[in-house]
Amino acid sequence: MRIDVNAFVGGYPFRRVPGTSPDALLLAMDRVGIDEAWVSHLPSVFWRNPADGNAWLYETAAKEGRFKPVPAVHPGFPGWERVVAEAAAGDAAAVRCDPTYHGLDPAGAELRALAGTCAAAGVPLQLAVRFEDGRQRHPRDGAPEFPAAAVRALVRCDAKVRIVVTHADRGFIEEVHFGSTPADAARVWWDVSWIWGPPEDHLALLLDTVGVERFVFGTGQPLRIPEASVAKLDLLELTVEQRAVLESGNVQRIHEP
C-alpha cells in the first residue's frame, strides 16, 4: 500500500505542466504504484478564495475512490469555518492552507484560529513550504516560502492540532523538530518529496535522527515526477516494516484519535 499525501489536480499558473487532469493523475499513480492520493486543487491555491475550488474537488474525489480530497481554506475569508466543518463531516484527508499566497501572516491570528478549529474538528492541517525550486519561480511568483517558525508556532498553539508539511528540506525539518517539545513534534508529519537522497543522504539521516514515524510518502505530482519519491525510498536500506510505515502506516496514524 502506497499513499501519496502530496498530489494535485488542475493547472498551474506559472508554467505549462502536463498531466494535470484527474485521469492523468490516475495514470501517473498507476505508473509508479501509488494506491491512494491526497489531492488538492492546484488552481485555487492562487484564487482570492481558494475554497471556491472545493466543490469541484469533492465532486472529482467522489467519482474516484483513490482520491482523498484536501480542500483549501482561507482563514481570513468569511465563512471559512464551514470548510473545516465540511472536511470533518466528509471524506477529506485534511484541509490545506497556503497563507503566503493569500497575503496572510503564516503564524498570525487567522492561522492560529485555523489551527485551533482543525484541532477541535479532528482534521489535519496541511501546509506546503513551496511548490517550486526558488531559483526557477516565475518573476511574478513572489509569495514567500512558508517559514519553519510558523510551523513551530502553529503546532504550539493547540495541543491537539495535527500538521502535515509538504515540500520541506532537511534544514527546515530539523529546525521544527528539534525546536519543538517531543509532544509537539509528535503531531507533525513530513512528506519526503523535497528531502535529498544520496550522496548527501539527508533522508537517511532524518529517518535516524527525527524518526521513521514522522515521515510520509509524498510526491508533489504533477509539478514533480512521482518517480523521484519512489527512487528516494528505493535507495534507502529499509526493512519491510519501515518501508510499510513510510508508505502508508504513518499516514493512517495521522487520523488516529
Binding site: R15, R16, V17, P18, G19, R31, E132, D133, R135, Q136, P139, W196, G197, P198, P199, E200, D201, Q221, P222, L223, R224, I225, E227, A228, S229, V230, A231, K232, D234, L235
Partner: protein, 266 residues
C-alpha cells in the same frame, strides 16, 4: 551501461569532515542504480582555502589531483574532468594538459568567468585539440548575478560554442535550478551543445521538453548532487523513449563525445 556525466567527489582538503562517507554513498547508490561510470569533477577544495566557484590555482591542482587519485583507485567506475579557473590562463592551460596526460577525459568550467568571455577561448582550443568535451556549469536563465559565482546561462554558453564548432559542450544540470525552458529554447539549434539532465529538479514536463528541444541524441544522463532525482529521471525516460534512444541517453551519447577509450565499452 549507464554513464553519469555529472558527478562530484570530495577529498580530505575540503570543509567536509564526512568526505569519505559522501564518496562511498555515491558509489554505493551508483551500484544500486546501475551506474557504470561516474564522470566527476572536483571544484578545488570546495571552499576550504578558496571559494568553490573561484578556486585558487593551488586549490584547482589539489582538486584535480584528488580526482586523479580516485580514478586510479576506481579504474572501472570513475573518470574525471579537469576543473580550471580561466582567470589564471597559464595555469589553466598547463593544468588541462597535465590532467589529460594523466588520464582525465574532459574539461570542467564552473563559474569563475562568464562562458562567452574571450578568456575561455584558449581553454576551448585546447579541449578541441585533445578531443575532450567541456562541461560548463549553467544557471538556467540567469536574470541577475548570484553571490559566490560568475554564473553563465545558455545564451553565453552558446556564444562560446559558436566560436568553437569543433568542441562538444555539455550544458550542465538542466534540472539544477533556474528556467530550463529558456535554456532549451537557446540550445535547440546549436548542434555542439548537449544537455545534461542532472540536478535536483524533477519538474513534470521537463524531460518531454528536453527531448522535444534537442532530441535524444543530444541528451546526457547525469545526477550531480542528488542521485535520487537522477534515478527518477532515468525511470521516467524508460517509458518516454524507445529502447534505442534510451541507450543513447544512458551512455551512447557520452561514448560519442568523450575521447575514444574513455570508457570500458570503447
Amino acid at each position: 551501461m549507464l554513464i553519469d556525466v555529472h558527478a562530484h567527489f570530495f577529498h580530505p582538503r575540503t570543509p567536509r569532515a564526512d568526505w569519505r562517507e559522501r564518496n562511498d554513498s555515491r558509489l554505493r547508490a551508483g551500484d544500486k542504480m546501475g551506474v557504470s561510470i561516474h564522470v566527476a569533477s572536483v571544484l578545488g577544495t570546495w571552499g576550504l582555502t578558496s571559494p568553490v566557484y573561484f578556486p585558487s590555482p593551488a586549490d584547482v591542482t589539489a582538486g584535480n589531483e584528488a580526482l586523479l587519485v580516485l580514478q586510479r583507485e576506481h579504474p572501472d567506475s570513475i573518470r574525471g574532468y579537469a576543473c580550471v579557473n580561466p582567470n589564471y590562463t597559464t595555469h589553466a592551460l598547463q593544468e588541462i594538459e597535465r590532467c589529460l596526460r594523466a588520464g582525465l577525459v574532459g574539461v570542467k568550467l564552473a563559474a569563475s568567468r562568464r562562458a562567452d568571455d574571450p578568456l575561455l577561448d584558449p581553454i576551448c582550443e585546447l579541449a578541441g585539440d585533445g578531443r575532450v568535451p567541456v562541461l560548463h556549469h549553467v544557471w538556467q536563465h540567469r536574470r541577475r548575478d548570484w553571490p559566490g559565482q560568475e554564473a553563465s546561462d545558455a545564451v553565453e554558453l552558446c556564444a562560446l560554442a559558436a566560436r568553437h564548432p569543433n568542441v562538444q559542450f555539455i550544458l550542465a544540470h538542466i534540472g539544477g535550478g533556474g528556467d530550463w525552458e529558456h535554456s532549451l529554447g537557446v540550445v535547440r539549434d546549436v548542434p555542439n551543445v548537449l544537455v545534461d539532465l542532472s540536478g535536483s529538479g524533477v519538474d513534470g514536463g521537463m524531460l518531454e521538453a528536453c527531448v522535444a528541444a534537442v532530441g535524444p541524441e543530444r541528451l546526457l544522463w547525469g545526477s550531480d548532487l542528488t542521485m535520487d532525482t537522477g534515478w527518477a529521471k532515468l525511470r521516467y525516460l524508460e517509458r518516454l523513449l524507445s529502447r534505442e534512444d534510451l541507450e543513447r541517453v544512458k551512455w551512447k551519447n557520452a561514448a560519442r563525445v568523450f575521447p575514444r577509450g574513455a570508457f570500458p565499452s570503447d
